[in-house]
């Protein structure tokens, strides 16, 4: 059924279609609308059997999911930003134990300074946590990925993070085709755990493993992610066959065939990039977009294949590895190693800084003059004023407060959204 619906509500309905048995969550913007909607669905009795557990922290949220999953229940939680960081110890525990939990990350920046707006700093910080990470380009894909995530997680016995841009997707009202329950039921069979706490067949889960076998446990986790590179497209194809929405699962390609310049990106900015590419192609610029849907496991071969014909690659990143620059770019460089392709990193959209098509177009047109690391629409005058203060006096004060005084207001909806 096609609906005009808020992204969070659509995702909540999609999660409910997957019939989770335990949902646990702690509210944090911009994830709140998802768990509020799920809470209502469970409380109304529309989703049975399902336990909705209101916990006291994200650490507890993930821990409840761990206990539920180990006891054989399909478990779901959602978080963002500081919440994801607060649960990190349990995030690693869940993947280490091989528990197929599905978690939405409503992508949001990480403080300090406090910032509730979108970027990818949160989920990128967990890229090595052993979780599979899928990034949605729009709310339709967010819905579709959530349903596939349960099947994927349970097939490979690994937890899956479905990342969707906070606010930009979670709070956007747009049309979404919701699959019906019968379709999802046929696609997603009941959870058959590989390991389960069952008094009838007692096992212990969570043993300490020393140097004698720890590497092997880790290696097997890596093996399972490598297997996921095969499983993800297979599940995407199966899902596409029953819904009509056929995606590759690992990557998305847009006008790549004759592209000399390719922008690589994750998440909702891909839509803006596609519009930009269309506009630029009308002006004769041969540019395309490569979207990475599966960031973990990273599809090295698919990326290499997609970029093989390009002259210049720009990796547009909504996260910054302070001290080196790009995160995704390093993965892309690994993928194209040995090919004569320039790979540049453009950091954009940190803390909700809008990524304007106009800025992207200018960046792409000037791709050959880009430094290896560029910050899109960086307000250099703000940076310079703070650097001057730092030079002028030792006690120059807190940076964030200094910059806010220069800017004049925090979060003014118009101040950061006007064309330069």
């Amino acid at each position: 059924m096609r609906k005009q619906i808020e992204g969070s509500a659509a995702v909540a309905q999609a999660v409910a279609l997957a019939r989770p048995e335990v949902i646990c969550a702690y509210p944090i913007s911009p994830q709140t609308h998802i768990v509020e909607a799920l809470s209502a669905i469970v409380k109304s009795g529309d989703l049975q059997p399902c336990e909705f557990v209101n916990v006291e922290s994200e650490f507890a949220a993930m821990s409840v999911a761990i206990g539920a999953s180990a006891a054989g229940a399909r478990a779901y939680t959602a978080t963002a930003s500081q919440g994801l960081l607060f649960m990190v110890e349990a995030v690693y525990n869940a993947s280490g134990l091989g528990l197929p939990i599905v978690m939405t990350v409503a992508n949001r920046a990480i403080g300090a300074p406090i910032n509730i707006w979108n970027d990818h700093s949160d989920s990128m910080s967990q890229r090595d946590s052993g979780w599979i990470q899928l990034y949605a380009e729009d709310n339709q894909e967010a819905v579709d990925l959530h349903i596939q995530a349960f099947k994927l997680a349970e097939t490979v016995s690994l937890p899956v993070m479905v990342c969707m841009d906070g606010f930009i997707l979670t709070h956007a009202v747009e049309e979404v085709e919701m699959p019906d329950q019968a379709t999802v039921d046929a696609f997603l069979p009941a959870f058959e755990p590989r390991q389960v706490l069952d008094p009838a067949e007692p096992v212990s889960i969570g043993a300490m493993v020393g140097p004698e076998a720890f590497m092997e446990v880790r290696y097997l986790a890596h093996r399972r992610q490598m297997e996921a590179l095969e499983v993800i497209p297979a599940i995407a194809a199966e899902y596409g066959a029953v819904t009509g929405r056929v995606r590759d699962g690992l990557i998305s390609r847009y006008r790549l065939d004759d592209a000399e310049i390719v922008v690589v990106a994750l998440g909702s900015v891909i839509g803006t990039l596609q519009d930009t590419v269309d506009a630029l192609r009308e002006q004769g610029v041969l540019v395309g977009v490569l979207g990475i849907t599966s960031f973990r496991p990273f599809p090295l071969e698919s990326v290499r294949d997609a970029l093989a014909g390009a002259r210049s690659v720009v990796v547009l990143e909504k996260a910054l590895a302070v001290g080196i620059g790009g995160i995704v770019a390093n993965n892309v460089r690994t993928a194209v190693a040995g090919l004569a392709i320039d790979v540049r990193t453009v950091i954009a959209g940190l803390g909700g800084r809008p990524i304007l098509g106009e800025s992207l177009a200018e960046m792409i047109r000037g791709v050959d003059d880009l430094d290896e690391l560029t910050f899109l629409d960086l307000r250099t005058e703000l940076v310079e004023r703070e650097l001057q203060r730092n030079r002028a006096t030792r006690r120059s004060g807190p940076t964030a407060e200094n910059l806010l005084r220069d800017v004049g207001a925090v979060g003014d909806p118009l101040s950061v959204r006007m064309p330069r």
């Binding site: 005009q4 808020e6 913007s29 911009p30 509730i116 707006w117 979108n118 729009d138 841009d165 906070g166 606010f167 930009i168 709070h171 956007a172 009202v173 747009e174 049309e175 909702s268 900015v269 839509g271 803006t272 596609q274 519009d275 930009t276 269309d278 506009a279 002006q283 909700g352 809008p354 990524i355 304007l356 098509g357 106009e358 992207l360 177009a361 200018e362 979060g411 003014d412 909806p413 118009l414 959204r417 006007m418 064309p419």
Partner: protein, 212 residues
Amino acid sequence: MFQTRFHGRGGQGVVTAAELLSVAAFRAGRHAQAFPSFGSERTGAPVVSYCRIDDRPIRSREPVVVPDALIIQDTTLLQQTDVFAGLADDGYIVINSTRDVPELGIGEMLAGRDPARVITVPATRIAMQHLGRPLPNLVLLGAFAALTGLVGLVDVQAAAGERFQGAVLEGNCAAARQAYDVVKAHVGEGVGDAMAAVSAGAPVFDRKDADA
């Protein structure tokens, strides 16, 4: 693509207004995307939301930079923030006010604009009459429908039907109709080319080039 920006204060339903317009456009068979100016929804604070309408699927996620229409819920914002920023030269403006446009003291800001595209609607007063509550959203959307012809009154009322029921729905529908009728009488068969904007396709990003 036709892009509308809503201005109001936190608590006035600015985000809901954009959502309702998107649902109305969806009901009218178009593609629509509504989104808030994230994170600024503090009660009383200036809040902005957006709605894009197109005949093709909408992919862009950038904020609306050059709106084709403004819906202004609260005239106290006119002096406080630059609500007209970026508005297309032939853009539409719907203002919630009991006063006429000349009485609002914004003549300078509207210089050069087609007066037929700028209207005030006593939306809060109409809402009070029909609902007994200051909920001007659907009144303004009724006026917007009449002014632009982009969505029909039935679409606006259908959108209301997805959110309200009973007396509140009836009141909203009646209030929207009243505003629609008043504005329709004022503008006749609509002004300008809002429909053309919808069909115009992807935005041109380099405005300097476009101007040249």
